[in-house]
Each structure stands twice: as C-alpha cells, then as structure tokens.
Amino acid sequence: MRAFPGEIRRIRQRGLARKRKAPKTIWWRERDYLEGEVKAGVLILPTRGCAWGLAGGCAMCGYVYDSFPTPPDRLLTDFKKAMDELGDVEYLKIFNSGSFFDPREIDRETSYRIFDEINRHPRIRRVQVEARPEYLDRQALRGAAERLTPQLEVGIGFETVSDYIREKCINKGFTIEDFKRAVKTCIKEGVEVKAYILVKPPFLTEKEGIQDAVRSGYAAYKYGASRISLNPVAVHRDTLVEELWKRREYAPPWLWSLVKILRDLREKVHAPLLCHPTGAGKARGAHNCGRCDSRVYKAIVNFSATQKYEYLDKVLETGCACYEVWRTQLILEGFAQGIFPDDLRRL
C-alpha cells in the first residue's frame, strides 16, 4: 500500500522526536505453560531497536520508543542481575523489542555471552527470543542452538495468515512465504517456533478480527509453529493505531473475542495456546464493559497457564450484560462504517 507507510513514517518520526528517558533492563515473573504450568521469567533488553520499526514499521507497534542503544557490557551486567533475581524460573523469555538475531541490535558475541550466562542456570528448560524472519538464517540459528543448553524457541510475529492484511493493514514488511521459510529453517536447526497472532489489526471489524485470528492461529500451527500466542492489539503511543483510536476509528478487541478465538481454536490446534493481553481492561488494551473485565481477563490468563478450557467455559456461563452488545456488534459492524468506537461497550 502506497500511502499507509507514508502515514506510518510520519507518525514514527514524530514519536522518535519526542524526548524520552533511556530505558533500563526490566524483568518480571509470570505464569506460563510448557508441559504443565511453569514459572516463567520475562526480560526486556533495551537495544538499538527494531530496524523495520525505526524506518516506520508496523501500524500498531510502539516498542521502538522503548529501545535505546545500550553498551554490551552494561547489557550483560543487567542481564546477570536479572537472572539472579528471577530465581527458579523454568522458562525464560527474552524480548528486545526487535530481532534478537539482528547483529545491529545484539552482536553475535554478546548473544553468546548471554547464552553462557543462561547455561549456568540448570533449572531453565526453555529460552525464548524473538526475531523477524529475515534474521532467521541457518547460521545464526545453528550457532545459537549449539551454544545454548536449554531448548531454544523463537517468537515470530506472523500476525495473520492473510498477506493482504499483513501488508495493507499492518505494514509488516514480509510475506507468508518468508514466514514459512523461517519456520522450516528453525525446525531443521532444532529450534521451536512460537507464532504471534495479532488479534484485530486496524481496519478489521471485531468479527473479522476473530475470523482472521482463528484462521491465522490454525495456519501457523499447520506451518509448524509449536506454540501459538494471541496478541490483542493494544494502543501504543505514536502509532497509526493510536491515530485511528483517537479519531474513534479504532477500538481494541473485546475480551469476549479472545475467549471466542481460544475456544474456536480448541479442536484445530494441538499445541499450547497462549494469551497475555497487555493493558487488559483499560481503554488502550483489550477490554469489555468495565464490569466484567477482570473476571474475563483472569479466565484467559488461567487458561493460558493451564490450557484448561473449563476456565473459559465458566466465564461464559457467568456471562455479563455486555455479552449481547458484543454479539450485536459482530452482526452490525463494518457495514460501510469502519470500526465501532468504544462508547457502546462502556454503557
């Protein structure tokens, strides 16, 4: 699409020009699922930032604003400290708001030193990093997999099975073929793939968002991803999504939609389904009417950590008055109208 990237670039430049503090390495513990529920550690490393994102990037992504070129030594010191504090986690997820295998973000040597540090923690069974497909070449993967003792897993922002949506609505900058190739390479090198599915990209109605996520989750699984992570759009500052959201032309998905997507994927995907909505219950994150948000959010998180559908069944049984509003929205929305704004939800 010719004009959207232009619009995205304009917003990106505005966002990058805003002064901000140099971010620090941050980490926390959360519940996750491997063969059963496990304690996971999440670690965010500030690096130079996603090359694609810095040049404009994706319609919904504001992570580049949290990035900052950090000297490798500083990065390692932080990393060691974090590892000590995270304690007995079995699953470690390292995010650098970009591509772990882009040497401009993390050079090869630093990454090896990070792996060495991880290897000192025998409880860790699995390590996840993230990268765009173009950085997932055989050499990089083989080097990493050989160096690292725990199972390596790479998260790829597949977002959607539709090339049209990925290009026109997200501006992701790669195609389904790129993704398939990257997954194949990963599998060949013994690296597992976690596919990120974007729930409700801009310009999609709630219903289209659901359908697209279900199709995409299934497709990612078929292409070889061993874990599927559903990521509802959250409204980041200085993004195209925020611009639309402010004009009341975009609203993040309902939590009910996430419940539906997870349930719809139940029979189709025989791999863990994960969903940790950011900013859930808030205006900028996936939310419902405000009364039932924490209840539904908890059910989703409990499901993610256990893969037990009873949590979702139960929250549906209890329901909420806003459930009917959500259903009506699925019928009516998009009729030459674009997206329903939030005000209906918050009644």
Partner: protein, 610 residues
C-alpha cells in the same frame, strides 16, 4: 438480471421509485432489515415490503474475504469497501478508495460503497468509477450525519454525479434524519440505528430519541409498547428493539406517503424541527444548494402547499418563483398604472371577497381604460404575484399563517421584487394596502392609498385616484393575459413564438388560424400545448425533448430520449422532436438532465402525438 431504480415521481431530489433487484421489485424509499439466514453469506437485507423471506440484497460482510468468493453470476449483492473508517487522514482515505475500487470494478452490476465520505474530492473520484452502479451505499453513517454541512455536500454531490437509475442507500442513518436524507435523494435506509439505539437504551420516537431510563410512560401503541411500561423494556432489550424497529419502519412509510401526496418537503420541515442536525442540513441545503433542489422540484402540484415556517420561505418552488419573475416575466406593455393589492386567503385571489371589491372600484375608476391598469398582489413568501399569474402554481394553491407580522426577510423579498417589477414596467404605482404592506410599498416608491382598505372611503379614494391618473390617456387594447403565463413557463418572450399575431382566445383555449395551440390547465395555471402549439414553440428552442425513436405509444421512456433541454423540470410541458419533426407534446416526468441520463423509467407522458 439488470438491477436499477426507476423514478416514479420527485419532490426535490427526493423520489418515489421502484428498485428492480434481479427479479424483485422493491418500492422506494424503503427500509432494509438486517437478517441473518443460514448459508455462506452472513447477512441479508430484507426490505420492508417483502412478506415472505425474500432476499433482495446479499451483503458480503468482509472486504478481506472477497478473494475467496466467486463472481458475477451471484444474486445482486452489496460489495463492502475497504473499511478505513470515516475520520481518517487523507492518505489513508485515498488508499482505501483505491483498494475499494480495485474490488468493485470486478463486479459491475452490483452495489458498491462510496468511500470515504470525509473528503468530497475523493467522493467525486469514486463516482467517476461507480456512478453507474445500480446501488451505492454512503459510507460514514452516523459520523457523516452528525456533520450537516459535509452531509449536504456529499449527498448532493453523489446524487448529482450518479446515474438517476442508481439507488442511494444510507446505512446507519439515524431515524431522525430519514426525512431530510430522503429529501436529498436517499432511497434506502436500514435497521442499524434501531439496533444501536436499543443497545444504548434509547427509545426512538418520531420526534427524536428518548432515554428509556428517564421515561415514566410509553407514548406509543405498537405491539411492543401496548400495555407495557418503560421498566419492562430494560433487560435484554428485545422489546425496545421491536418498538424502535416499528418507529423506523413507520418513518419510511410516512416518507413514501408524503412523496405520493407532494408534501415531503413539508414533512421534512416538520421533522427537522425536532433535530438540530437535521435542521442545519435543511437550511444549508435550502440556502446553498437550492439549484440542486430546484432541478428536481416539480413545476406544479395538485396539493396545497403550506408555507408554515421560516424554512418554507426557501422552498425551491418559492425561490424559483422569485427567479422567474426577475428573469422570465415582463410586465405587460401599454399599461399606464400598476395597482398594488394585498393577498387574500382565498385562491385565486380574484375569487376572494376583498379582491372582488377592490376590482369593482378599480373598474369604476378606470371605465373604458381598464386595459391600461395592471394589478399585482403582494404576498409572502412568493413576494409578488402579477394578476395574470395568480392561478399558476404555487400562487394558486398555497396557505400561510396570517398574522400581520412579517420577518425582515419576507419584507426584503417583497420590496426587491416590487422594485424590480416597477422598474421594468415604468408606470405609476398606486398601492391599496394596509399594515406592513404600506412599509413595503413606500420603500418601493409607490403612492399609498388610504389605510383602512375595506372602508368605503378608502375604496372611493382608490376609484378616484385611478380615474385621475388615467385621465390623460386614451383607452388601449386589452392585454393578452396568457403572455405572462407563457413567459413564466417557457422563458422570456416565449409568447411571441407560441402566440403569433392574430391569436385568439376562447375560454381557456387559444387559437391561431382556427387551430388550437394551447389551453390553460385550470389545475396548474400553466399552459398545455397542442401539436400545433409545439410546432410554434419549436423555433424558440427550449423545452424540447429529442427522441431517438418515434414514440410508439403515449409514453416516451428514458431509453428513447436522446437529448433534452436542461431547463426542463418534472411536470413541465415539453415538445418531443424526432428527426427535426414535432412528434408529440406532453408532460415531463423528470427533469431534462435526468431523462437524458437515465436508461429506465418514464420520461414524458404524451398528450398528443403523431
């Protein structure tokens, strides 16, 4: 099968029509109900009138699914647009339009969405590609409707650029806006607003939406409301939805009825007074787009026009009256005295008691010089009505609330027209008027008679002054009254073509060399032509419809119209020409531009043909 809308009649751009969808025929304006039926399509739009589960329009709810669907052999459907939304940066709007057109162009003959309506220049661009599609949906819905200026701009633009056979559909129209939208030429509405209002806890009434929670009683006796109380409507919202849908449907039926009875404009004025946005749209439309309204406004109507509010002064036929008086009409020659009279409730004025009295005294004063006197009548909102035009629509059939209070605007219109008339006539003007009329006449430079106009003294004064003013003149030849009507109807000096030297009058009919050329239609006050009249008027070069075939019956359809004068309005008397020969005369059903552009529907109802 072909799908198209056929116009039956207009009131302004608003129209009564028949929408042919495949083998179905749906009367318009109409109301589409969203229905979910089993099958691979998500949504059907069922019209108000289908008793059975007919499926006139299939709606493909997702733009992103289209690649999976097959093409043209499907039943008529509405193609979705790239759903960019309404209020988006222009770059995105441009791209959304491009994407929408890429898809729409693969499916001609179906319905398409005009998107995005935030930018009128893009709407125009969309119309270049979609202008001949049988159905166009306006994107933007509620958001566009809340911006009256843009709404008027966009709808008039679409209606002007799209084929007359294109049905215009306004999804998500707020029920309060149905009348004004219909008046601007929207043919199809839907149930979306009723759904949304129900979700929001709004109880729709004919005069706006109410907050259900604040209501103590239900002022309606529809199936849902009968015997119910507001609190019964809380809960799942189904009863509220049922009520809301019934009001929305009733509104569409009211609009159709109003169109049939030529009182849509009146209905619009009435309903707009409940809704500031609708009123803003009506005012902007009337003041800034009156040419758009006038082009579709019929030249006559059997219905009495009630000019009851300030909005009525700007009705297209009123403004047309002002314009034609200035541009087409000229006062009779050889007249030496203009007498200005007030209007009367009874129409035509000359049938009223007051006018019969005035005229008795005028005749008494003028004696055998009566042909030197010309009477004009002051009135609001028409301003000025020369006596010979008193039977012409709308002068012959209007009603106003008479209070003696005039707005500045009403006065100004009157003064300007009177001044213009007196300048053209160049005669002495004597005003036999009272109240506000006196200010007007004074302003226009007329001599004022006595104030108490129905008193014997004032009337005798009138007689005396007429006699005095005409004292020095010789009696003249009687004025040929149809001249004024002819010019008003066809254009300046059209009379010299239609009524050559030696034309005579017998009752309402006019003869030349023993052959009838025209007659005054008592219902409209306008001239109806004979074939002979048509031949005479041919040289004038206006009000001609060029047919591409010799009309085989009493009806000339749009498909047989090659060209038609742009001055032609619905209801106008026209001359039908084929191969430079007059082959018929009759009444236009549509405006000239519309009958030229349209491919379906009646163009001219022929009175005589050869």
């Amino acid at each position: 099968m072909d799908s198209y809308l056929e116009t039956i009649k207009h009131q302004g751009p608003g129209r009564l029509g028949k929408f042919h969808i495949d083998e179905h025929v749906v009367p318009t304006p109409n109301f589409f109900h969203f229905t979910r039926l089993p099958g691979r399509h998500d949504l059907y739009l069922a019209d108000l009138d289908s008793k059975t589960k007919k499926r006139p329009v299939v709606y493909d709810s997702s733009f992103f699914d289209l690649e999976k669907q097959d093409s043209n052999t499907e039943p008529f459907r509405l193609l979705p647009d790239f759903p960019s939304g309404f209020d988006v940066p222009r770059g995105i709007a441009e791209e959304a339009l491009r994407e929408t057109l890429l898809v729409a162009e693969k499916y001609p003959g179906h319905g398409a969405v005009v998107t995005p309506t935030r930018y009128p220049s893009l709407v125009l661009e969309a119309l270049k590609h979609l202008g001949r599609y049988p159905l166009l949906a306006v994107s933007g819905g509620e958001k566009l409707a809340s911006n009256p200026r843009l709404l008027v701009e966009v709808i008039s633009l679409i209606r002007g650029a799209a084929s007359p056979n294109t049905a215009l559909y306004y999804p998500y129209a707020p029920v309060a806006m149905f009348p004004i939208l219909a008046y601007m030429g929207v043919d199809l509405f839907d149930s979306a607003h009723a759904f949304l209002a129900s979700i929001r806890g709004e109880y729709i009434t004919e005069s706006g939406n109410r907050n259900l929670r604040k209501m103590r009683e239900l002022p309606c006796s529809c199936g849902a409301c009968r015997g119910a109380e507001p609190r019964d409507f809380l809960g799942d919202g189904k009863a509220l939805l049922k009520h809301n849908l019934s009001v929305a449907k009733a509104m569409v039926i009211q609009i159709r009825e109003a169109l049939r009875e030529d009182r849509l404009r009146e209905y619009v004025e009435e309903k707009a007074s409940n809704d500031p946005k609708a009123m803003a749209a009506l005012r902007i439309l009337s003041l800034e787009k009156w040419r758009f309204l006038e082009e579709y406004a019929p030249v006559s109507s059997p219905t009495i026009q009630r000019y009851v509010s300030q909005e009525s002064y700007n009705r297209p036929e009123v403004k047309r009256w002002h314009q034609r008086l200035r541009e087409r009409y000229s006062p009779p020659d050889n007249v030496k005295l203009t007498i200005i009279l007030p209007c009367s409730a009874r129409k035509p004025y000359s049938k009223s008691r007051s006018h019969r009295m005035f005229r008795r005294y005028i005749r008494r004063g003028a004696g055998d010089k009566l042909s030197l006197v010309h009477e004009v009548v002051l009135t609001s909102p028409l301003g000025l009505v020369p006596r010979e035009l008193e039977g012409v629509f709308p002068a012959g059939s209007y009603d106003i609330p008479v209070t003696g209070h005039w707005s500045e605007e009403e006065k100004t219109v009157c003064i300007d027209l009177l001044k213009d008339y007196l300048r053209k006539s160049g005669t002495h003007a004597l005003a036999h008027v009272d109240g506000v009329y006196r200010d007007i006449c004074m302003e226009a430079g007329a001599e004022l008679g006595q104030e108490d106009i129905l008193s014997k003294s004032a009337l005798e004064h009138l007689s005396r002054r007429v006699a005095e003013i005409l004292e020095d003149y010789e009696p003249g030849t009687p004025y040929f009254e149809a001249r004024g009507i002819c010019d008003y109807q066809f254009g300046p000096r059209a009379w010299s073509w239609l009524f050559p030297q030696g034309t005579t009058r017998k009752g309402r009919a006019f003869y030349h060399q023993g052959e009838q050329v025209a007659a005054i239609n008592p219902a409209t006050g306008l001239l109806a032509l004979t074939l002979k009249g048509g031949e005479l008027l041919l040289g004038y070069g206006r009000y001609l419809v060029e047919a591409s075939i010799r009309p085989p019956s009493g009806n000339l359809f749009c498909v047989g119209v090659k060209d038609a004068g742009e001055e032609i309005r619905p209801g106008d008397e026209v001359v039908v020409v084929y191969n430079d020969e007059v082959v018929g005369v009759g009444r236009a059903a549509l405006s000239g531009r519309e009958m030229t552009e349209a491919e379906h529907g009646l163009a001219v109802n022929l009175r005589h043909r050869r």
